[in-house]
Point group: C2
Chain length 223, copies 2
Amino acid sequence: MGYSVSEENYIKAIFHLQQKQGKVTTNELSNHMKTRPASITDMLKKLKKRNLVHYQPYQGFKLSVTGKKAAIEIIRRHRLWEFFLADKLKFNWVEVHEMAEQLEHVSNKKLIDKLDEYLAFPKFDPHGDPIPDINGKMDSTPQVSLDQWSLNKTAYVSQVMYSSPELLELLAHHKIAIGTALEIKKRFEYDGSIEIKVQQRAPVTISETLAKIIFVHHGSTHQ
Amino acid sequence: MGYSVSEENYIKAIFHLQQKQGKVTTNELSNHMKTRPASITDMLKKLKKRNLVHYQPYQGFKLSVTGKKAAIEIIRRHRLWEFFLADKLKFNWVEVHEMAEQLEHVSNKKLIDKLDEYLAFPKFDPHGDPIPDINGKMDSTPQVSLDQWSLNKTAYVSQVMYSSPELLELLAHHKIAIGTALEIKKRFEYDGSIEIKVQQRAPVTISETLAKIIFVHHGSTHQ
DNA sequence: AATTATTTTTAGGTTTGTCTAACTTTTATT
DNA sequence: AATAAAAGTTAGACAAACCTAAAAATAATT
């Protein structure tokens, strides 16, 4: 009942491509996966037999409900491992992806659920992408790092990456926690630092380093 | 320069078998790996071409220096993941092996070294087997859990599994730390609890649960 | 609408790692 | 030492996942 590493990679790739376009073509997937079109067709027949895709020759394809479920499970694994690598092992988020590509194929439900628990059920990975929860549900509100937020627009803190005692101390000092509302008042081009207003308090300046690891969203659905 | 999952499994298996007997035979490896003898021969030719084994047809085989190095690297990965699963994710040591079998093939030197650091360079895995360090060196002193130690024989604490604040509190209360010398004075069959004497202090009784996760060795080479 | 270009599929081949069945070498037994 | 038994190897086949080259279907262009 498990899928091979190859099958999982196809499922994941189709999922990502169909997000934008609804249906995916052989050539699109071929480019995306750096695999020849003929191989795509081969695998598609296998995935169809396994009821993972809806596919008619020459007509493009998309994941079935089962396929989508599988994709979300794979994405959950990938993003939890990414979070682990960044938050616990202190890798920066550029290095993290490649390793997670391997780890995501270690498929043991209990392992992933315990990892999720250990990481305190994170909602976003280090790139800001949402992590599906144990039931496959994930946040749809896009999330960005604070340094990319626009001026004078209320932001809610949803996550802080790379937690360490030193970081927590700094955040506590500025009274910043998950859910805190804040606004960017000014940007200093020289060193990338920004002046922020946290709730009703007097404005403070924070470094670009800090701004980059504070993730925010605009909205009420989060808590 | 990397090895396939299959190659790694063969290397690891040969390493374990040759520990006891020096040389390994096709049938031994066949039984151990649950793979037909013909397949063993096939793979052995590949490993020989890669200079991982010394092998003459019909004469048995053993790992070369390169092969041994590879084996130790694989074992390092396996045991570090086992430690992670037990210590951080709170799996018990029976469940841990199977998952580590998959994780051990995720081979990224930096990942493993960071994991090692994150786990605070553990010297033994949850089964009591030594974990090779970054240079491939590992402790050779056998290590057992305290509940299997004999009466009136000095034991030195080398490791405590499944660390948690509650556990640390209990250990601190009994003045037990890594390196502490102690002796078992009495065993209570009824509930498996044991009476121990920690250094010069008055004897105390500890539960079987605790005794099972305290690992000890007999000797000076440890610190 | 006919022709050309593009996309997709099919047909047949390769590599990796396994298998069974047949054969060879080594070991054990009489 | 000859023969039987056991162990190990070779030969040929198969599935998975890829490939190239050729054919077929669809889309674009005149």
